[in-house]
Symmetry: C2
Subunit: 407 residues, 2 copies
């Protein structure tokens, strides 16, 4: 944990990936993040993957370093407590992250009556408030039809919920930006972040929509060919698959050199009357001529021969490896200072990451595990809402709140 | 453009997707973002997709609303100007976003000698400083082997550069967070954001690594089946492909109702002695029994029949559509207030998005196009570095700087 956001208090009422990652990023940069959930857990509390004892590795991954309050969110009393938590007083508080419906009991208009300068960051599915999740919105953007081998027409969904993840990080950016603005002008704001707008805007930012508008149809699927440049997966003599990329002139020259292809490519250039060195687009349009040269060059050598040659030449390449191999890869996991082995609420101990960025000038601090559900109910009710022990006891008795493990 | 970051001045020395989107998000929230490039353009200035006149739709999508300065970055004089721009004085300035090498002429240590409280956000490939791009790092994380139909073993790369995009948004969050910290303690910082750490941490945040550690191997590929829940693509009687998701008990109940499957599923539950309603994991492990029921239900009706039934019941679903259809879809593009039709430096006019989030309390302001390369060279040299017209003229004559279109 870094301390950039020290002193901020954020309340999170959320589920799934986008809003929880927003809270996670804030917590790992030093904010106090208090998440409330339904007693027994919300819709994401038992999501797969699971530990052998049924605990969700997903939930405990996404909620590291947060505090947990358990409330009966179906009851008026529980809902009132959620509203009061989101809007509790404090200078760098009144910061609420949620994916609850835009017009429900946690609407901005409702919460604003409790705290005028509230900053509310709201993850949404479709911008009109209708049900949408990463996979359904991704299907509407054309990407599954652009993904996968060209010889197979079946749509291919992404496995990584990219829109959720981008939305979560963008919401964290939106929240701190709104806080900066509030520090200047004293005003609260709602930042609505629908996955549909984030998807639509991103497809435009990357040029996909302008291209489709010009061409009348979207980019065809082309397997692992990198669009508009030279890049693809190739198979070595010993059957390993390596990804090769050559976008800049330097990357191109180095790849040719390391693969002993300078002569072969020069001959092709002479035949075609072109120069590949300065035009990455040409390497793409002529890829059907270039690929056989590269396929042959990869097929001549083993991965063990190519790897040091590529590294020595500074080629941009990578081996496909399964995640179990990545866990032993010192570039990713093994000994990576971003990770610390800690005990999690599932009862398991395994390495977990802190902040995804590194600040060389600052100590990383400890990676903190996710809370047990309801672990901080009493503490938060006392500190944020000033409730007495008797009052909190009555709420427990009435089933409006619960402590760790439902007690 | 919103005004949350009004008064901030950010300098960007960057290429490709991650660092430019960081600058883009900052600009669209109101920061002044000044990007410098090599005269004639950096390695991303001609990236595909292209307009008919060769202008990059990619570059003009990623650099909307920024100012552009063109410098001879190979010369000591040009490099010195880049350093002075990144560290120019000003209260909410000294904010630098880059993907230049960690140890080159734009290293934090070097820049810090010019401005002690500099905030430098640096996108990197691998955390050790070696060459890595989205596609090579993605290959090392195991995702391409988890993606695509189960009956095809070929690795499938994502088409959307998800790691670049997540890194860009996380960097924007990191920059504003570091500014909040500097406002408090006066200290500068470098925020290093390697794609490799962002990828490794995200796979852990989502539970992929803990799962792989427990099982000894990564999740097998399973086509479009949503892991640990009920969700997949199904084909209607008229051959349309629809994505259906049922994660929460409510989503499940609504899907059964809309598909007239309540009875069929109850019979299967009786046979198996289970209840699917309360256990999404069970719907996943028993999906081979459930799928035939759903396949038959979809095959009985057309998409035109199913769509209103799904919407009326509140089912979480989506049709696969190509991007050209999305452009006519009012939920995404047509009439979406996030987009405005503007003229771009390519000479084309087409709709472009502003900030990806919406603040209902604030006017959206104008979506500003990307600059022409070097359009703001003279203005920025005069305003930030206090150079006289004569001095700027000499730099032009010496080829150290250039104005719009290389002049």
């Amino acid at each position: 944990m870094y301390d950039l956001l020290q002193g901020l208090r954020v309340v999170e009422g959320s589920a799934f990936v986008a809003a929880p990652t927003c809270g996670l990023y804030l917590a790992q940069m030093g904010a106090e993040v208090i998440r409330f959930d339904a007693i027994g857990g919300g819709p994401d509390f038992r999501r797969w993957p699971l530990a052998d004892n049924g605990a969700s590795l997903y939930w405990e991954g996404l909620n590291k370093g947060k505090k947990s309050v358990a409330l009966d969110l179906a009851s008026p009393a529980g809902r009132e407590i959620a509203q009061r938590l989101a809007t509790a007083p404090g200078k760098d508080a009144g910061l609420f992250v949620t994916n609850f419906p835009v017009d429900g009991f946690l609407s901005y208009e409702r919460l604003k009556t409790l705290r005028e300068d509230l900053i509310c960051v709201r993850v949404m599915g479709w911008a009109d408030g209708s049900q949408g999740m990463d996979y359904t919105i991704n299907a509407a953007l054309g990407l599954p039809q652009m993904t996968g081998p060209a010889d197979d027409a079946r749509p291919v969904n992404h496995v990584l919920a990219a829109w959720d993840l981008l939305t979560g990080a963008y919401c964290a950016f939106g929240l701190v930006s709104a806080l900066l603005a509030r520090t200047r002008d004293g005003r609260g704001r709602e930042i609505r972040a629908p996955l549909s707008d984030i998807g639509a805007a991103t497809m435009a930012n990357l040029g996909f929509t302008a291209e489709t508008g010009l061409q009348g149809r979207q980019r065809p699927r082309m397997g692992n060919d990198v669009f508009g440049a030279f890049g693809r997966d190739f198979v070595t003599r010993d059957g390993q698959t390596l990804m090769l990329l050559a976008i800049t002139p330097k990357q191109w020259a180095k790849a040719l050199e390391a693969l002993d292809l300078t002569g072969g490519v020069a001959a092709l250039e002479a035949e075609l009357g072109v120069s590949f060195a300065s035009d990455e687009g040409l390497r793409f349009t002529q890829r059907d001529r270039l690929y056989p040269l590269f396929e042959a060059a990869f097929a001549r050598r083993t991965a063990a021969e190519l790897a040091p040659a590529f590294d020595a030449a500074g080629v941009t390449w990578g081996a496909y490896q399964p995640l179990e191999a990545a866990l032993d890869d010192p570039r990713l996991y093994k000994g990576n200072p971003v990770f610390q082995e800690i005990a999690h609420p599932s009862g398991l101990s395994y390495p977990a990451p802190g902040a995804m960025a590194t600040i060389p000038q600052a100590p990383r601090g400890e990676v903190r595990p996710a809370p047990r559900l309801g672990e901080h109910t009493d503490e938060v009710l006392a500190q944020l809402l000033g409730m007495s022990a008797a009052e909190i006891g009555r709420l427990h008795d009435a089933g409006v709140v619960a402590g760790a493990e439902g007690r």
